[in-house]
Amino acid sequence: MCTNDDPDTNRTRERYASDILALQERLTFRTLATLPEVTYRVERADGLTTLGLRTDQLTTRHLLGMQGFRLAQYLRLGWVCSDAIASRAMFCEPTQALRDDDLHLVTLDGQGRILGYLGLAGVDGSLLMADPERAPFPVEVAHGVNLAEVVPALATTPSDQVRELKRFVHRRSMTDKLERLRVTVELLLAAGSVVLDMHEVRLLVGDVEEHVALRHLMIMGLETRLVEGTRPALEERHYLHHAYTERAAVRPFVADVPSAENLGRQLRLLEELLESPDPVASLRALVSDFGGNVERVAA
């Protein structure tokens, strides 16, 4: 949809997208750290702060700020269609589909600029995943697949014991590799910690690119089933259509939440990694010694 026959329209929509990027680049949200209730908070001595907030713990403007950050990074990656966002005058991802207890994990620098984001979303109700009345997770809608049908272990799990990992994104203007790694680790620590606290969560779902986000699951030590053979199912006009058609194969996954003991060990290793003089080497060692495994299943 991003290619329009009319060059003037294309130019106008590219300018719209460029303005939205500039807008989002400018916004800061240091007051996120001052919100009265947060689910997770770690403040580092160098000013980096990682927070976990439920949707209902956020003010509207903070929520719009996070959704705007998400949209801007996807736009920079080329995973969002500028035509679609311009025609709908979008400046952030829609908030309507968010649930009150969806979790938003965010890392901020000392100025309040969002450096990274990761979402943990659930679905309404508590039906078995195999139940035909069960609400689908967004990943299932995007890939046109019922995960309970392709991963039998999932079928007998109630849907409220499943969370979807969504939008693991870095600030694209952050080019320093070590800085990016640091943000990744901070967000994984946050995700692991909140999952550890939510005793009911047994499975994580989502979608990943093999050579990118899959590594995050390995770092967390997750036993992961990668679903192969699905086809993008979002309609062409959907603003996220490109996220499934314009990048390397994106595959749905189902991952077991490790035991509290194993997850706790993984989090301690991640904390140690932050102190390491050579974080890249430490990360490799972590993945090699305690990384997760991947099993491939056909859709």
Partner: protein
């Protein structure tokens, strides 16, 4: 005998005399900000060089939402109307009218984007105000020759400084200069009114959102004003400034209607600023008259002083009633009312001058000394009479409204 029944509270509709709980809470919050943050710095900001700007006050005001009062909630704002703006500005102006105008001018710069009804324009500019760092806007109308009236065709013909626009491909090119633009020195963008080349007057007046960091924009001299010194009235010079066509507000030639609508809406808010100035001066004088003893009696017990205080109180109250009515109507009537805001501003501006003058006379020599802040109120009161309609302009608007019916 049948007793009259008191209606249950929920049956009593809110009136102008009883603000909604949300607006009462807003008033309390802004009052606290004004007393705690603005008051301690008002004198220093007033006596600083003309180009001094106190970002800390703006930042503190932004923290309580003053830069996003009228921004819809869908863009992260508070979604308030003119009534909320007016109530907030009275509170700020009671401590410092110049600071009130910083926030008021920013809202004036937001107004055309809001009035445009253009979702893309709104999405590109309104979320700017919902981040943690304060972003200011301004509204650029006034010019050297045309003053606030850009609609007189001959102005364009004779003036060299009139801002003009011409279309070049998918951009417009702006040239010319603006004057006395509040926030012009510090704003991110200016909603700028320009006449299309060859089309002077109402038909060609067009409003553009101009990024003030664009090539060709020069933020000129700051006026060294008598009052309102906390805000910066600045020249803006445009030399071949390219503005993308998407930044036209409402289309070519829509500037006249936008200008009229925002002016009618803004007058209620400016009347509220006048009310704040009058109230601030009155409160100082009231406290002084309670404290000062002359001839064995407190000043307030002297008949001449008591009479003055009573007149001042009445003027403050009447000003408030008029601006509340005007703001309420501006929020609830389309097109925006002309008569009520003009009456409110005409009355409140004059009341502010009279009340501050009386307050000064009650305080005697102390009122004439800077540290007591009274002379600042008087200087500020004289300024409010000028912008968003002088008494003469307001009189024309009011009189035209009076005779509107007869034309039918």
């Amino acid at each position: 005998m049948t007793m009259l029944q008191t209606p249950p509270v929920e049956m009593t509709a809110p009136t102008l005399y009883q603000l909604s709980p949300e607006l009462q809470a807003l008033r309390e919050t802004v009052r606290e900000f004004a007393v705690d943050v603005i008051r301690p710095r008002a004198l220093a900001n007033d006596q600083a060089p003309a180009d001094h700007f106190d970002w800390d006050v703006v930042r503190a005001g932004h923290e309580i939402g003053l830069l996003r009062l009228v921004v819809p909630t869908a863009y992260g704002g508070l979604g308030l109307g003119e009534l909320g703006v007016a109530v907030a500005l009275e509170e700020i102006a009671a401590e410092c009218a110049g600071t009130a105008l910083i926030f008021g001018a920013a809202m004036l710069g937001q107004a055309p984007v809001l009035l445009s009804g253009d979702p893309q324009l709104q999405a590109r500019f309104l979320p700017l105000f919902s981040g943690d760092d304060p972003v200011l806007a301004c509204n650029a109308i006034t010019e050297e020759l045309a003053g606030c009236d850009l609609l007189i065709p001959e102005s364009a013909e004779f003036a060299t400084d009139v801002v003009t626009a011409r279309r070049e491909g998918d951009h417009y090119v702006l040239n010319g200069s603006k004057k006395f633009i509040t926030n012009g020195r510090v704003a991110h963008y200016a909603t700028t009114f320009a006449n299309m080349e060859g089309e002077p007057g109402a038909t060609g007046l067009t409003c553009f959102v101009v990024d003030l960091d664009s090539p060709g924009v020069v933020r000129g001299e700051v006026a060294d004003k008598m009052g309102y010194r906390a805000c910066l009235g600045t020249e803006l010079h445009f030399t071949d400034v390219r503005v993308p066509e998407e930044n036209v507000v409402g289309g070519e030639g829509a500037g006249f209607h936008i200008n009229i609508a925002q002016m009618n809406m803004a007058r209620a808010a400016v009347a509220a600023i006048s009310t704040g100035i009058a109230r601030g001066a009155f409160e100082l004088a009231k406290a002084w008259c309670d404290e000062r003893v002359q001839g064995g009696k407190r000043l307030r017990e002297h008949q001449f002083s008591a009479r003055k205080l009573a007149e001042m109180a009445a003027k403050v109250d009447a000003s408030r009633m008029l601006y509340l009515r005007a703001a309420h109507l501006a929020d609830n009537e389309l097109p925006a009312p002309v008569y009520e805001p003009a009456v409110a501003k005409l009355f409140a501006d004059r009341a502010a001058i009279e009340v501050t003058e009386d307050a000064m006379s009650l305080m005697g020599a102390r009122g004439y000394v800077r540290e007591h802040r009274m002379e600042k109120y008087l200087r500020d009161a004289l300024g409010t009479r000028i912008y968003e309609g002088t008494p003469e302009v307001l009189a024309l608007a009011i009189t035209e409204s009076l005779y509107d019916d007869e034309e039918w």
